[in-house]
């Protein structure tokens, strides 16, 4: 019995039931919306759980969290943060070393809701093709943001960064920030599939660099059971990470070790053969 053509994940739903076949997707949406809600109940209802935004936040007056990419730009621009922000960076850094750098992208970042929406609509509308851009572009973007910060002496990327603009907009007032969010949505919808998160965003690129060392990975304990239904490729936002682990390219171990993997866990959901699962790996990562 093979998957119905065009119905990604149908086989997994038939095998495991709808709930199990959407487990990680549901948990991920709960995480994204829950974190956003924690930020929003303060300004909306006066219940101050978290103050600040994704650039720097202070939870219940005890937990400082700061964005390491932003602080890298700040250092490039010639300024340094105060003690609390350093502590916040250390905590964020350590956390993503454990759970996987780009877990930020799929479990926290509000723009993921926008680009996932664009991708869903793109599939529904049957839009194919579009512009081509290398996945490595984001590292060039990352370098560019740091160079521009150093040359202008300001955190220039923050002027247009859709990630912080969207998040700040939701919490402190959107203004015209919605235009930037719409631009990202339209880019992903019409111009290229996974264009923003998968190719351009320097924030994700930075978390990806942390992810090279991270412990939590999607593992493939049952990769021998793979029936080549290709459903995991259909749902994966970073398809290039799958093949080495799935097909043991160059004797690769059964774990996705590419730093671009966002640990979204959708491949685990849609696999009817239970090839994938989350797990910690203790092997050192080559390169």
């Amino acid at each position: 019995m093979s998957a119905l053509p065009g119905k990604v994940g149908a086989e997994a739903i038939a095998e495991k039931g709808w709930l199990v076949a959407h487990k990680w997707l549901i948990l991920r949406r709960a995480s994204q919306i829950g974190i956003l809600a924690a930020f929003l109940v303060g300004p909306w209802f006066g219940w101050w759980i978290v103050k600040g935004n994704l650039n720097f936040s202070y939870t219940l007056g005890v937990l400082p969290l700061s964005d390491p990419f932003l602080l890298a730009q700040m250092l490039a621009a010639g300024q340094s943060p105060a003690r609390l922000a350093w502590i916040g960076v250390a905590i964020v850094f350590a956390f993503y070393l454990v759970v996987g750098g780009r877990s930020f992208c799929s479990w926290v970042c509000p723009v993921n809701l926008v680009t996932d929406g664009a991708n869903w609509l793109r599939t529904r509308l049957g839009l194919k093709g579009g512009a081509h851009l290398s996945r490595a572009t984001r590292y060039w973007m990352l370098a560019m943001t740091l160079i521009v910060a150093a040359l202008t002496g300001t955190i220039a990327w923050e002027m247009i960064n859709p990630v912080s603009m969207f998040h700040r907009g939701l919490i402190f007032g959107m203004g015209f920030a919605w235009t930037v969010v719409l631009a990202v949505f339209l880019l992903d919808l019409f111009v290229m599939r996974h264009g923003w998160c998968g190719r351009l965003c320097p924030v994700g690129a930075f978390y990806g660099l942390i992810g090279r060392l991270s412990a939590l990975r999607v593992r493939l304990p049952r990769r021998d059971a793979c029936n080549d239904c290709m459903d995991c490729y259909a749902v994966c936002p970073e398809q290039q990470v799958l093949r080495p682990a799935l097909k043991a390219v160059g004797g690769a171990p059964p774990a996705i070790r590419d730093a671009s993997c966002t640990n979204c866990g959708r491949c685990i959901d849609v696999c009817s053969k239970n090839v994938f699962s989350f797990g910690f790996h203790t092997e050192s990562v080559p390169k």
Partner: protein
Amino acid sequence: MDSESKPNGSARRQFLADTARMACGVGLLGLGVGLYARNASALPPAALRPPGALPEAEFSAACIRCGMCVRDCPYHVLHLARPEDPMPTGTPYFVARQAPCEMCESIPCVKACPTNALDHSLTDITKAKMGLAVLVDLETCLNVLGLRCDICYRVCPLLDKAITLEPQSNTRTGVHTLFIPVVHSNACTGCGLCEKACPTEIAAIKVFPLYMAKGQLSAHYRLGWVEKEKAGGSLVTPDTEHLYHMPEGLKYEHRTGKVVPEAPRPGDGVPNAVSPAPTFRALQGDKL
């Protein structure tokens, strides 16, 4: 050998072309971002930074746009700039005429800042320099028009230090006094309470960022009276009073420029009998 180097060569060429394309594309974007950031980094005159803010050039590098200062301001006067506002997106500001800084003694906004964008060494709010109040419109200031409005003077948290009322004779009526509000930059914190309180339709006194509000003397200028005080006495030959030859019994009054009768000396029987010795007068620079 040829058959081997050729595909290698074209692969290398392809790699270089791809790299160049990427570098140019991203570089162009970077140029745009950089120019935009530079152009948009000026602060409009009506927007004031929270207390302790670094000079604007450093501020836009040190502020991480987190909004912690906005959250911890008990009077909710601070806003984060939106993308359409003419200043760096996400940076904090307040508009004095809408809601001025209330100058909390504990300065919670500075304490909340996770970087030094709001300088943590500022612990005395009266030392803040958010801007400088300027009596911009002498034509509409009620005090200058002759009323005793005095509101800016009264609401100033640094009463009689940041704003004083300087009496001047009212030449229009000839009998009244104008009490002109004068701002002193050494004391004014730029909190904006005066601008907020000004009762005219549009405030006659406004707070501007320091770079707009303040002039500067040339470096070589010296104020004679200041130097005199520093030296403990006159640094040049002291001025002497010029003496005039006047008809007997009259004298020239320097202050008013009038010729008035000379006051009789107490205990002097004969009025105006003795004039000072000629030698003495000569020393004073008078003609003999």
